[in-house]
Subunit: 281 residues, 2 copies
């Protein structure tokens, strides 16, 4: 299979590495604005050749758009222009409705399959990429009205080659769900890092008080700001609703804790509900 990857960062690099192992006879080309990642990847055999400009005409079976989600729209359109009629174009963006709306009117949009590999890392860029972050993780495909069953099944096969588990979902359902399962958790993690800094005296050494739980809860905060700014802007409406649900729960909790004596019963019910729900996962 001939693959062209646009954006050789955390996810783009991980896709290249996974495909390299899965298909020894495949040919992988890549484009990135960071020339040094490309040279590095070629030297290490992760890619076969470098695509010089984003507008270059590419003969490939699958083009993978692995860019921050806002800039991915123009890149998907450009690659739908420059690739063969037989080439499938997939993106990896964390928000689907806005990308579909930005691409659907393109004359070749039937060849574009919106995808979201639910994989990440506290590391960012090509240096953090690894096939391990894809292996066994979920990838969501959100077909649009121009897609045929045939191209969706090509996309399913493509993702199965990378070791991912495929789920087909409606794009709005996707954007609502990931607001809670991915975007809100990222913002909570970043906000927790900032809250600890803001809330504690600046002359206090917090390090001894940071246990494994704190490290886990702040791991996501290290994610790429460029990637997450795009996600937040593109899924703002759903994220606002998720923040409102979250702050509603925190405000109830705060009211209970501010009572004197604390209403242990309501607090206990909240903690027990969380344990019960978590057991169902």
């Amino acid at each position: 299979v001939r693959i062209a990857v646009f954006g050789l960062g955390l996810l783009g690099g991980s896709v290249c590495k996974a495909l390299r192992t899965a298909d020894g006879n495949g040919h992988i080309s890549a484009y990135d604005i960071d020339r040094s990642s490309l040279e590095d990847a070629r030297r290490n055999g992760v890619i076969d050749d470098i695509i010089e400009t984003q507008e270059a005409v590419i003969h490939c079976d699958v083009a993978v758009i692995a860019l921050p989600v806002k800039s991915s729209i123009s890149a998907i359109r450009a690659v739908l222009d420059s690739t063969d009629d037989s080439a499938m174009v997939v993106d990896l963006g964390s928000v689907k409705t806005g990308v579909i709306n930005g691409v659907i009117d393109h004359r070749n949009s039937s060849r574009f399959v919106p995808c979201h590999p639910m994989a990440g890392s506290e590391r960012s860029g090509f240096a953090g990429s690894s096939p391990d972050i894809l292996s066994g993780a979920n990838v969501i495909i959100t077909p649009h009205i121009k897609n045929t069953p045939d191209i969706i099944s090509r996309a399913v096969k493509f993702w199965e080659m990378t070791g991912m588990k495929v789920t087909i979902a409606d794009c709005t359902d996707h954007d609502v769900a990931v607001a809670y399962t991915s975007h809100l958790p990222h913002l909570l993690s970043a906000a927790l890092v900032c809250a600890e800094k803001k809330g504690l005296p600046s002359d206090m050494s917090n390090e001894p008080f940071r246990g494994r739980g704190f490290r886990d809860m702040t791991r996501l905060a290290s994610g790429s700001p460029a990637v997450w700014e795009d996600i937040c802007e593109m899924n703002a409406a759903q994220i606002v609703k998720a923040i409102d649900t979250m702050t509603g729960i925190l405000c109830d909790l705060r009211r209970e804790l501010a009572e004197n004596p604390v209403d242990g019963k309501a607090l206990r019910e909240f903690l027990e509900e969380a344990v019960r729900l978590k057991k169902e996962y």
Copy 2:
């Protein structure tokens, strides 16, 4: 060393297991309301004998009170009554000021050293206990006015035997710091589990949308409700301040995301600050 452990749960059990390895000649006795954990621990050689009642007179060098923090106060007082004058009594509670205030007037309070091993697990009870959760983790000792340097250095040596790194801190500083680094993270984790349930349609299958980030951010939510209810009640004043700091940050973020277009600059600064602060850890 002769050790008596009161409460053979996650932390009490982990302390027994760590000491068993560190001191082959030591003698470990334990008390718990759950007889089956005690029998299990004795059968497996984790403890040497069972203490029949919490009021039994115990000849030991160190008594470890490993109970939920509210009930630990009366247990510390009882064990200060029933132990030899040479016995040191340590607790493991996640809140220190309230415990010290509840014990300081006891005639033997000089023998009580307030401690907090910053260790936990998504598992709870003796079944989840392991010396690994202590090894390399921090333990905070918060001396009170009746403690002598001699007993503090005995406490330091005790914790070093379990493989933990010791930090000495003021009890108020401790309670303020852990509100941000431990108690708020736990409540965020539990609240995120409840928010996802509340925010998403009940007929939606959320499982495919839950990636590694979500699993990490909701891991703490599985912690024992009995343990966490006590912690929240005992450190309510500090936790309320931490929740206020957190919801303040989330409200700013919500306001930015609700603007149309989104103020990308403020959002980017927030995300970059989190990455920058996290790098300093």
